[in-house]
Amino acid sequence: MDEEDPLTPCDVTTGFFVLARCGRPAVVGCPRCGRPVCDRHAGPQGLCPECAGPQNDDPYDPRWAGGYRRRYYSSSSQTYNDTTWYSSFDDYDRGGFNTGDDYSYGSGDFGDDDGGFVDS
């Protein structure tokens, strides 16, 4: 594992309802999106949780809640008809909702013609 960089905090979103950045010292940059990731959140080949792909549906897996959070915010936004609830995620986080884009980060998949249910 790479060395910790105390000046670069981990940029992974943590929490379920009370969202925050992880903030622990980053040890690696995600090779796909470039965001700094700490040793706790670095996946295979140093990928961040969003770029590492879909999470499994096993709640016994410690990473389950992170993947479920993205699905839940999508469904609860529709239940409440509240777009601000969903838009509290940023582009990194919302990347997980866009199926087919391989969880990529960038403006292309999050533009106005996204066809999603939120004006971001």
Partner: protein, 239 residues
């Protein structure tokens, strides 16, 4: 003399499980307050259950993987390592004698001879979590089951009885915000099946309550979280 010991390996495996895991197997419940690291130890033990125990009598209640573990995971996401998460789980079901209410006779018409009605109140899950934003979240899931035992006699004198049940599930979520935390009415109202109450004070108390028909337990975490969501929409994000 040969001593035959049945289920020896499975008994040994259960003896090595987390004490609360054993309580779920033998008593179908527990009431305890722990920190997240201790809850993670319990979840790690529960994850080993099916690999070592196959006897149905020692199986975990269905609500453990379907409801309890997902709710533990979700609440722990919003806690620091020093926060305390309390859980009172009673997974024995509504048929337990102490959960049964008094029986009453309902008026009947022939061919029905009698209708006996009673209710069972089953508060089977209560959780309290100290969240990292300084607020405290409490949730309770209570099943209220109506039983109706009908006794009828057909024209040939044959007696038949049947018991019908109807279950209504009440989900109540209360969040006490941190001291002085700003509270703001959300832009959209909650769905009509969720009722909200607000009590202002040094700590604002937001209560959301919903009654839903009891269905598949696997969808219950999402229902609980939908009710919980309302208590978080009133406060600004701390990100």
């Amino acid at each position: 003399m040969t001593l035959i010991v049945f289920w020896r390996k499975q008994k040994a495996a259960i003896a090595g499980f987390h004490p609360l895991h054993q309580a779920l197997i033998h008593q179908q419940g527990f009431s305890v307050s722990l920190r997240p690291a201790d809850w993670n130890a319990l979840i790690a033990s529960l994850a080993q259950h099916h690999a070592h125990v196959r006897r149905r009598r020692w199986g975990l209640p269905d609500r453990v993987p379907a409801v309890l573990v997902p709710m533990l995971r979700v609440l722990m996401e919003d806690m620091t390592g020093k926060g305390v998460l309390s859980v009172a789980a009673d997974l024995r079901g509504p048929g337990t004698p102490e959960k049964q209410g008094p029986q009453v006779q309902l008026p009947v018409r022939r061919p029905v001879r009698s209708v006996t009605q009673w209710f069972a109140v089953d508060p089977w899950l209560r959780m309290r979590a100290e969240l990292r934003d300084g607020s405290v979240l409490e949730l309770a899931v209570t099943d209220r089951v109506r039983y109706r035992k009908v006794h009828k006699v057909n024209p040939r004198g044959k007696h038949k009885t049947k018991t019908k049940t109807k279950t209504v599930r009440r989900i109540a979520v209360t969040r006490r915000t941190a001291k002085g935390a700003p509270v703001q009415r959300p832009g959209t109202p909650p769905p009509p099946w969720i009722r909200v109450r607000l009590k202002n004070g040094e700590r604002t108390v937001i209560t959301a309550v919903a009654k839903i028909p009891a269905g598949d337990d696997r969808s219950l975490p999402e229902h609980i979280l939908h009710v919980s969501t309302e208590t978080f929409r009133w406060t600004r994000r701390t990100r």
